[in-house]
């Protein structure tokens, strides 16, 4: 179990009932550590209400290109992407860059 804050920015909130910020308790499977990968699975399974919106968020089993993923304001590429192990109080933000400017 880990407590994190998740933010959906840049218009992504439309697929999360127009709410930008969520505080989540992400359950861990058999007491192991919770990774960003399992957080993404959790979001897709529990938080996207309309199944058609999944493609907006996920592509080929990872975050869709064009969505900027930050772990505590650090590009997730520098943190090991899906393998990053979450800690209590971490902030994850997903920002869409695909809308018009």
């Amino acid at each position: 179990m880990v407590n994190v804050k998740v933010e959906f920015l840049g218009g992504l909130d439309v697929i999360f009932e127009k709410q930008r910020t969520y505080k989540l308790n992400v359950p861990s499977k058999d007491d192991s550590e919770v990774t960003v990968g399992s957080l993404i699975d959790y979001i897709v399974e529990n938080m996207i209400k309309n199944p058609r919106d999944k493609d907006v968020f996920i592509e080929n089993d990872t975050i869709r290109p064009g969505i900027l993923t930050l772990i505590n304001d650090t590009d997730w590429e520098l943190e090991g992407e899906k393998d990053y192990v979450l800690e209590d109080g971490d902030i994850l933000s997903f920002t869409s860059t695909l809308h018009g400017g």
């Binding site: 900027l68 520098l78 933000s93 809308h99 018009g100 400017g101």
Partner: protein, 373 residues
């Protein structure tokens, strides 16, 4: 609607040496620059990003001292960062320019009214004057009415043609001769790809220039973000907590640009430098000059399939003006006037349709009722 900035994360506890910024070697690297894969910290990123834009402005001599400049401001990420940065750089490097925000109100309820609210907040936040020009006052149509009349499929055609003119007219109204827009490197590369995919040879060569001006037009346009990655612009806005609007336009579901954009994003995921590479290719494409056709008689005018009429050869000038509205046009009548004419015809049809609902005797009574002496 108000603005909620993104949350601040807690301070990192232990930073490994391998995680340090490659420029200052003092703080934790937060981003990997798509241009060169360099890992840098937030402060170095601000410095590098701002300096690069400054260098683009200097090396292309975009501004002249004392010039008044209109920023095409939509409230979106690019134009918001552009307005913020221009103001900052203008003060830091003393360009001596006066900046005005220029917004176009297309009349799209639930989209443009919200984004204009953002621009109005930007006006206060950056202390810049703001001018809003609407389609309603320029063309007597709002985009909502146009879509109701012509359908969603063509909405971007109308909107694009009208907006281009509207920006120029807004600038002319303010007596400004220079409009800057927030087009970024991703947009540029996308345009190059799109023109190649469409085989649009005429646009291909011009599409990558940082500053454009038709010889007959008093208004020039430039794109200081031509080499700035969309990702970095979004990151800059995120770290600086800039207030921008980020909803996709109601009428822009599957425009052709969408497909090219997807292709670009997938290419970028494989090799981030590809965006700059595509722009570079676009800049260096040289097309073989067209073979000159057999000259038609001098007064020859051609009616093309879309109904536009070419200019008589003799009278061709770069600064030709539309017969109706006087705006620059490469045809006798400009594209906006042609679109407006089509719309006008449809509007007339609609009002007649209403009358048809009552026919025969009922219609006669209704007509008599409306008669006055």
């Amino acid at each position: 609607m108000s603005f909620t900035p993104p949350s601040d994360p807690k301070k990192p506890k232990n930073v490994k040496i391998s995680q340090l910024c490659e420029l200052c070697h003092a703080r934790k690297a937060l981003i990997k620059r798509p241009k060169n894969l360099q890992k840098i910290c937030k402060l170095c990123f601000f410095h590098v990003f701002e300096t690069e834009i400054h260098n683009t402005i200097l090396s292309n001599k975009l501004f002249q001292f004392g010039e008044r400049v209109a920023v095409g401001a939509s409230g979106g990420k690019d134009s918001t960062v552009l307005a913020y940065l221009l103001k900052l750089l203008n003060e830091r490097h003393n360009y001596g320019i006066q900046i005005v925000l220029l917004s176009i109100d297309e009349g799209i309820v639930g989209y443009r009214d919200d984004s204009l609210a953002t621009v109005k907040r930007n006006k206060e936040q950056y202390d810049l004057p703001l001018e809003i020009v609407s389609y309603r006052e320029l063309y007597d149509w709002t985009m909502d009415e146009i879509v109701a009349c012509a359908g969603v499929r063509n909405s971007c055609t109308y909107c694009g043609v009208f907006r281009r003119q509207a920006l120029d007219r807004g600038a002319a109204k303010l007596g400004i001769k220079h409009v800057v827009t927030g087009h970024n490197a991703d947009d540029m590369a996308e345009t190059v790809l799109m023109n190649i995919l469409r085989g649009d040879v005429a646009r291909l060569e011009k599409s990558t220039s940082i500053m454009t001006q038709s010889s007959g037009s008093p208004i020039k346009r430039s794109k200081p973000f031509k080499y700035a990655y969309q990702k970095e612009i979004v990151l800059y806005a995120h770290y600086k907590k800039l207030d921008y609007f980020s909803t996709e336009c109601t009428y822009a579901p599957e425009a052709f640009r969408g497909t090219a954009r997807e292709l670009m994003k997938n290419l970028e995921a494989v090799r981030p430098s590809c965006i700059i590479d595509i722009i570079y290719s676009g800049e260096n494409l040289r097309l073989r000059p067209k073979k000159t056709k057999k000259a038609p008689p001098k007064s020859h005018m051609e009616v093309r399939s879309d109904g536009s009429i070419s200019l008589p050869l003799q009278g061709f000038l770069d600064g030709n003006r539309c017969d109706r509205c006087g705006y620059l046009s490469s045809n006798k009548i400009c594209k906006a006037c042609m679109l407006l004419e089509g719309l006008q015809q449809n509007r007339a049809k609609l009002s007649i349709d209403k009358d048809v609902s009552a026919h025969g005797a009922a219609k006669l009574t209704r007509t008599l009722e409306n008669l006055t002496f």
